[in-house]
Symmetry: C2
Subunit: 350 residues, 2 copies
DNA sequence: CTGAAAGCGCTAACAC
DNA sequence: GTGTTAGCGCTTTCAG
């Protein structure tokens, strides 16, 4: 292999501009203590020579590495890619993470590590030692893995925990679950619905509670009753079917149903079909997951979309901005709603 | 920020093992000239101390950077992510690229650059200067951009061109288009079809010709005629509809149709439906793109799936293995077929 | 405000 | 075979 050396180094720039290396370094690092005149001269040389500092050299000299590691669960990530079910979690992460990194002159490296493995610590230590990243973005289920967070803290590496609300080391960045439920509910209310059923997720997920609260609050704000309008599932299809049946057979049959997962929503759709309901004519349906299947089913489902890209963008900004992983308020990012064909005004209003 | 220094360096290992730095370095780099005894001693120290070399330092000292850059088109990639249509191109690339890199102790960095922009050269130069990658993986449409390939060659950086067959600098790695068409055709033949229509892509795409050849060859091998069984589209929906109509209204109405894009296949499906054909009972349909919509439509479509992950894996292996970007034979990777519900034996056989 | 010196962790090139 | 020397490109001291 050719002995690859940097084509144009800080030395060339210094010579070209007739200043010391140090001055060039100061310009690169945007230090304030440089006379405007020098600054201009150096900048001109950098531009002319097309100089770009080597991140390896910068790291070596004790500065930043300009590298951010995104730590994903190996098994889940690979399984998702192999299934090709279009779970675009990683894509959205890249969208938010990569672009934000690029904006700030950073690069992002995706690392896959086993959660359950005993050598997770070894893997992480190795990655840190090899890459020496300035920051790490943790994704579920790593976000609340204390083994990881402790290690990162010990190494004094800034990190963000996506999808976590637990205060603690690192920045917690999560979606506004309650707000999302409220958004969904208000969309339906605006359409004219008054009986809006809600199929919540299982109680052992903290977010289930937050979502239910959002629905309750939105209903209350609109002066609408919620009695007999709440059912609970486990995110799976079967439980969704049962919950939908309970709602539809209940004392106050809803004209719209919000379900907290794509599977439960699909189950609701299936049941509605079997009963001869027109969707959205007789029943509006809204999903809390915006997976591809939800987009290609007939009718395409209105759905809450999780702002993974924004979460990651926030995470990167925090991690870059403040290298000291001080405990901070969790950052809550609002969800958005993608309106498709499964929600409409109830027939009674049409 | 804390002055972050490597926790355990080559020096610690050397001291611990009672050898010189160089010996440790030799062990790290798997150089043969180390006595087994020393080797064992050093390895033990490395293991005990949990030492992992810093890639920054390795690069600085003139060795490899253990970094591979995957160069993707900015606009397309971002558009794909934003659309959330589940084009899992990047995912599959990551699947193949990331894992292969990891196996060999490399990391992959995804870089987005504008194809059309004038500053593509500036962007690429900057990335190279900053990262100093050992290799670059080019994806369409960069794969045949001579500006890029020349720059890479000039910097003597190994690179692979995915989806390209043009010989030249770098390694060309592409799917076996003809083989894919043959695979599709043979699947249908095995099912009992004798009249198999083919909707080709536009002539200005080289791969259109290859695919058509594959179909022709498979038909010929089976002793089946192909007259009046070939139609041409432009990959779009409307052209697919017209092509399908021509086939169905032709002299020898096919019992199965292969279309060279998901849109043309969907158009064929729509037309078949309108004519009261049962799919696959009256007409089997096979797509050449395995996009999500193809998987969620009813019936789910049998489709050729492009081996992006494997292509990328091959590309990485080549680039890592042979740093000298000598011209080499293009590497052709076979496609696979995912059988779903849109293909079956023709009714006449049922 | 600017420059000179030292060194980050590692490997290339030589010596031994 | 193994150890020694000299940097890689940059930023940190610390002087001027």
């Amino acid at each position: 292999m050719a002995r690859r050396r940097q084509a144009v180094t800080i030395r060339h720039v210094a010579a070209d501009a007739g200043v010391s290396l140090q001055t060039v370094s100061r310009v690169i690092n945007k230090e304030p203590s440089v006379r405007p005149e020098m600054l201009a001269r150096v900048k001109a040389s950098i531009e002319r020579l097309g100089y770009v500092p080597s991140i390896a050299a910068q790291r070596m000299a004790g500065s930043r590495s300009y590298l951010i590691v995104a730590l994903n669960d190996r098994e889940r990530t690979i399984a998702g890619w192999r299934d090709r079910q279009g779970t675009d979690w990683v894509d959205q992460m890249l969208l938010g993470g990569l672009l934000t990194c690029a904006e700030h002159g950073y690069r992002m490296i995706v690392e896959l590590v086993d959660t359950h493995s005993d050598h997770i610590e070894r893997e992480l230590r190795a990655a840190i030692a090899a890459i020496r990243p300035d920051g790490v973005i943790l994704t579920p289920p790593h976000s609340e893995n204390t083994l990881i967070t402790c290690l990162l803290e010990e190494h004094r590496i800034a990190f963000a925990r996506i999808g976590s609300r637990i205060a603690g080391p690192g920045f917690a960045v999560a979606m506004d679950e309650a707000g999302a439920a409220r958004l969904a509910t208000e969309h339906l209310i605006a359409l004219g619905h008054r009986c809006i059923g809600f199929i919540a997720g299982p109680d052992d997920y903290e977010l289930s509670g937050w979502r239910t609260e959002g629905w309750l609050a939105a209903m209350a704000d609109a002066g609408l009753p919620t009695d007999d309008l709440l059912a609970v599932g486990d995110f799976g299809f079967a439980s969704g079917r049962a919950a939908a049946a309970a709602l539809l057979d209940g004392a106050v049959p809803p004209t719209a149903i919000i379900a907290c997962s794509d599977q439960m929503t699909l189950a609701t759709l299936e049941l509605a079909r079997e009963r001869g309901f027109d969707v959205p004519g007789d029943l509006s349906i809204l999903s809390f997951d915006d997976t591809p299947i939800v987009r290609f089913v007939a009718p395409p489902l209105t759905a809450i979309v999780q702002p993974i890209a924004e979460l990651t963008a926030c995470a990167v900004k925090r991690v870059i901005g403040d290298p000291a992983p001080e405990a901070a308020e969790p950052i809550i990012v609002p969800a958005t709603l993608t309106i498709r064909a499964s929600t409409a005004a109830p027939r009674s209003l049409a």
